[in-house]
């Protein structure tokens, strides 16, 4: 049985904000299915009660003083933007 259907692949692509073609959807369905099937070997292991590791260092709540400091100027921040206007990033319409 396949682990992931073509419809699910299309749903995931939408969540990931990736436009994909029908052909890509077919390829991804096959490839993701292979990878997920392989990854299911983890189910051989009993992990009941095992603490998940999100991070190997024992760091918690690293805080710094909330002090303003000079960083990037507005003009600089805009210089790599595909489009900007009046000191702001410009994007196509958000609402139809």
């Amino acid at each position: 049985m396949s682990r992931i259907s073509k419809d699910e692949v299309k749903h995931v692509a939408n969540l990931a904000r990736l436009a994909i073609t029908e052909e890509e959807a077919d390829t991804f369905t096959k490839q993701l299915d292979d990878i997920i099937t392989y990854a299911e070997q983890l189910n051989e292991l009993d992990t009941e009660g095992v603490e998940p590791t999100t991070h190997v260092l024992d760091l918690k709540n690293v805080l710094r003083k909330d002090e303003p400091k000079k960083w990037i100027e507005q003009e600089e921040a805009l210089k790599n933007a595909p489009e900007h206007q009046d000191g702001q990033f410009k994007v196509p319409s958000v609402l139809e």
Binding site: E8, V12, R17, V56, L57, L59, N80, P92
Partner: protein, 490 residues
């Protein structure tokens, strides 16, 4: 003979004595690049004008400046941000990112140490790949035989050093991306302990795994460079507040009594006989030097690959969300609304492997699958980490091959993601455990391709890793051999 046959310390002495100039070193680099980079394709962007101007400036201070890397030309992997110098991370998405706004912390440190940045080095797109074939530009080649891959993702960083284009470089390692190409190209590459080096300004792939590290021709140069780039950084709260020792002082040549663990899983099925033999010869060498070794087990090794792909892809799917076509990089043309702009900019800007991993990661984190895949992988990660901790209760270092095989041919594995991923089975567990690991040259295959020995240490114990690597290196001459690229020896 190339000036880059000298160690970094020797070059510095020559600069101080005014035997050579910074300009000479920088020209040596650009000349060699002109000579061989058409074949090697290690560089994506050259910093010619600025590097030459900096060399002239530095030459005026020559002899009066004890900055740690004064005048020494370096190459930097292209996922490390350099102010005003194009940074693409090997991706078309960033092909027009000519003017980054700031320097990564490691670049600040290179600048403070007065090294000269020669250019930005080729890599698999966003560091996702093991062969450099996922670079969205012409992929780098192995200087020992350009029909073969240099490894990845820091393939350009390793190839440039092996080809004698620069004496040292920076790479990054998420699942083996420094050590695997170092092994394939016959150079020395270290992945430091997680948290040892600041990642501020490293274009993030998988934040719980990524580390920046040095690629060099010798262990001494490697230790020298790590001394410069390591340490806590206020701009990276995951960088550890742990003192940075003088790594070069650890290079005593003495490994008497060193306790080495050799995991049986690292010499098992799938490991090429030539690689096994080279590692066994290395263990004999260690015996002769007075170290002892025992076979041990890291029983969860076979689960590392699955764990890694689930965790790294999940983290990548979140990290790469920043590439949205709004603030920098690619934006698709003729889009009707913002959603279409996101989707098409990303579809046009990302290559297949990057899309595949974003898809896998998004799936593993999506509602209904999170516990089954992401959380499960995090739990298995704990078991893998515990395996290492248990071995390190009794042993100083773990030794094995860096990769199961020497470099493979261009085009051989690119169509099959699972075979490609298997190249990293011996390096991935090290990232999952967060411990440091180095690859040093330990032999050549019948075809003349380098083989790497991996030495793994305890958290923040790079000193012992370097000591063990250095003693082996000094007892052998693999690191002195050079590819016969461009007609002359580098």
């Amino acid at each position: 003979m190339s000036l880059f046959e000298h160690s970094l310390k020797e070059l510095q002495e020559k600069l101080n004595n005014k035997e050579i100039s910074v300009t000479q070193l920088v020209e040596e680099s650009f000349n060699r690049i002109k000579e061989v980079d058409g074949e090697v394709q290690a560089f994506l962007t050259l910093n010619e004008e600025a590097a030459r101007a900096q060399a002239v400036e530095l030459d005026e201070q020559r002899g009066n400046d004890d900055a740690k890397l004064f005048g020494l030309p370096i190459g930097v992997k292209d996922n490390i941000v350099t102010k005003g110098l194009r940074t693409t991370a090997g991706s078309q998405f960033l092909s027009n990112f000519h003017d980054p706004l700031y320097d990564a912390t490691v670049v600040n440190k290179l600048n403070d140490a007065k090294s000269v940045i020669i250019g930005k080095l080729n890599m698999d797109e966003f560091a996702m790949g093991s062969s450099n074939e996922n670079s969205s530009y012409a992929s780098a080649r192995n200087p020992w035989n350009t029909d073969y891959v240099p490894g990845g993702s820091s393939g350009g960083s390793a190839a440039a050093v092996a080809a004698g284009e620069v004496p040292y470089s920076l790479g990054s390692d998420t699942g083996g991306s420094i050590r695997q190409p170092a092994a394939y190209c016959g150079v020395v590459g270290l992945k430091p302990t997680y948290g040892r080096v600041s990642r501020f300004g490293l274009i993030a792939f998988a934040s719980s795994l990524d580390q920046i590290g040095p690629i060099t021709r010798s262990v001494e140069d490697n230790a020298f460079l790590l001394e410069t780039i390591a340490g806590h950084d206020d701009m990276d709260s995951t960088s550890a507040n742990v003192d940075v020792p003088k790594y070069t002082e650890a290079l005593t040549g003495d490994v008497k009594g060193l306790k080495i663990a050799v995991p049986k899983e690292y010499l098992g099925e799938g490991v090429d006989p030539e690689v096994k033999e080279a590692v066994q010869r290395a263990l004999k060498q260690y015996e002769e030097l007075g170290a002892t070794w025992d076979e041990v087990s890291l029983p969860h090794s076979k689960y590392a690959l699955s764990t890694y792909y689930l965790l790294s892809s999940s983290e990548a799917s979140a990290n790469l969300a920043r590439f949205d076509g709004v603030r920098y990089g690619k934006r698709a043309e003729d889009v009707e609304n913002m959603l279409e702009m996101f989707k098409r900019s990303r579809a046009e800007g990302f290559g297949d492997e990057v899309k595949r991993r974003i898809m896998l990661g998004t799936f593993a984190l999506s509602s209904g699958y999170y516990d089954a895949y992401y959380k499960k992988a995090q739990q298995v990660r704990t078991l893998i980490k515990n395996d290492f901790e248990k071995v390190f209760e009794e042993y100083d270092v773990i030794v094995g091959p860096t990769t199961p095989t020497p470099a493979f041919k261009v085009g051989q594995n690119i169509e099959d993601p699972m075979t490609m991923y298997a190249n990293d089975i011996l390096t991935i567990p090290v990232n999952l455990a967060g411990v440091p690991g180095i690859s040093v040259p330990c032999g050549f295959s019948e075809k003349g391709l380098p083989i790497g020995l991996q030495i793994i240490g305890k958290h923040f114990d790079e000193s012992t890793v370097y000591r063990a690597a250095h003693a082996f290196e000094q007892a052998t001459d693999f690191h002195k051999q050079r590819p016969s690229l461009g007609g002359a020896n580098a």
